[in-house]
Amino acid sequence: MSLTKQELDEFREEVRAWFEENKPADPGFLLPLSFMEVGTDEQFYFLRDWQRKVYEAGYLGMAWPKEYGGHGKPQALQDIVTREMIRQKVPFMTNTIGLNWAGPLILNMGSEEQKKAYIPGILSAEDIWCQGFSEPDHGSDLGNAQLKATRDGNEFVLNGSKIWTSLGRHAKYMILLARTKQNTNNKYEGLSFFLIPMRIPGIEVVPIRKLTGEYGFNQTFFTDARISESCLIGKEGEGWQVAMATLAFERGAVGGQAGGHAMMSREVAEVVALARTAQRGGRPAIEDPTIRDRLVQFVMEERSMMLNSARSRIKALNVDRPFSIPMSSKLVGSEYQRRMNQFALSLQGANAAYYVGDDLAYERGQWQRSYFNAFSATIGGGTSEIQHNIIGERVLGLPKS
């Protein structure tokens, strides 16, 4: 089904109008910028309801098959919706793990039963998903996962612990990487991948307090938790390959996500606005030439990311190092966010010392919070240091560190 430009334009108009009309009003509390920052129940329910509303309007999972709750439409339409959501800065889709990792994985590799059981609830946000990859003692070393899944007949018995399980308290399911075989020649060989229920005996979710002072992440403890072997996805012992495929969904290298944006980023336009408000010697800070110089640098950086993404779609301009842009976008984006948020603090003058909750904090202290939260992306999903290794080795062909 190929659409004409006119059809696409008309659809865009329709979508634009719907979001303008339906975008939620300011709830009166600070909203999180991504699913990893959902810290309170009021934030969670607000976002869950919003996702359901978007889904019910037909704007989520548009390219997913109809039989599992999708709409079976061209991906181009979903892309229009996603872009419009970003443009209008409406809240993000909170069931991020479900929509972007578990969903595509199940659609790709799952059995018919799994598709039927899991996909509809992912889209409607009825069934929240969380992720069980990282462990407390092996932060960046995913292949070294130690959580034990010991076979016992038709069941596996889980023992160990996973960390950084966002939405863990609300999640019905988890995608889990666990060790089903000890002492293999190669640490990657003993791993298996599961789709497991969260609300069973032996699973306990304990909130972790973040450096922001807020909650949102959890540590999940497994003590003789029993799951059926039908929870396996992919073959037993091939969990590493499944995990890698799943991470490829995350990094956006492969398509198939349900659509809808997953993260609100702070943008340089907001920092510029801040610089117009903040004072330096009784004048707007944006008149200070060194501040202007820094702002221009951030403007160029933000554009670099957009233009990299545009260029990455032109094959002839990616001949020498074809994976350079896709493999570096996480590093570039996360470090940009950290530095830009940090700069935004110093712009606020003495008032930068306020924090979330003080009436005089600029924009409710969200810059302070988003500077701290920016570390979740420079650390999580492979630290920036590890990203440098990966790019150096896989894009430039440098020897392993």
Partner: protein
Amino acid sequence: MLDTNKKLTITFGEEQEQLLDIATSFARDKFPMDKARARIAAAEDFDRAVWDEMASLGWLGIAVPEEFGGSGLGLAEVVTIAEPLGRNLAGTPFVSTTLVAQALLKAGTAAQKQEWLPKICEGTIGALAIVEPHGDWNLAHLDVKATEAGDTLALSGTKTFVTDAASAGLVIISVSLGGGPALVLLDKAALGKASLEKEIVIDETRRSYRLKLDGVTVPRANLLDQAQTAAALKHIDEAACLLLAAEACGGTSGVIDVVVEYLKTRKQFDRYIGSYQALKHPTVDALLALEAARSHLYFAAGVFGQGEEGEIAVRMAKALSSDALAFASDRAIQFHGGFGFTYDCDAQLFRRRGVWCEVQHGDAAYHRRKLADLIF
């Protein structure tokens, strides 16, 4: 203009050496990291027992002349206390009280000095109210007003970031009076009439208050010497910069210790993470930034108050030390990996302290701009 040929020496006297030694032990004993965390959660703004000990050690009178009960030394000696306290993230009214004494010394009337300086030396807490909601670093940007009404002054407006105000025996406030700046003293009684709101600030080791002055009146006698206001504001600004620089240098040293300890003990991919150059080299850069800032700090301490040379030195110390702490503590969070993202990791405490030290009394870019005008 700077004479780059001039040989620069750091004066560091015997008293400084002794005080630094004592304060280093004191801070280590009284403010271990678990204590700093406990202080954050504590109901009282400060630890009375520790404060009394600081007073009895004579630390509140270090830079107060002997005639007022002090030891007649200077801010150079105060730096040797502030730096180790900063290293251990101590939360005490030491700096604010010292600055109030400095304001009195610079612009207080004979009667004010006679009344308050001896009390301060004995432990009366002073708070300084010189920042306003506009957040501008220019201390002459004053929206708070004092209006003369016979023998009294009626105050109006709001002061922000008045640290330790709730425990203070006196507050010194900058106001606009008849179109010009002035300093006014509020004693506990007058303070009781003002509205004091606890602020939520990024550095949780600080106790900061918003002081709403509408409806407060004080006797005219509470005015400091108006002829000295400008000089006093400049003096307070520079003194605050010097002590913030001391705290920031101390903090940088403290956070380097924290991250080095982690890098030496944490393993990833079967190697101590401190063996990775990606973590080791930036940590060395943090150390180099500390060493430079600290050298500037003690130089600035030595030439403090010496006209333009003193001003240049203190601005450099402030700029370099706040950048050093920002860099060291930001990297410390990152290098702790997942643990760095938690509230339990001490790196964040230093990062929060770093924001405070940076954005009070001007960030590095602000001071560099002032320096350019002084130097070129």
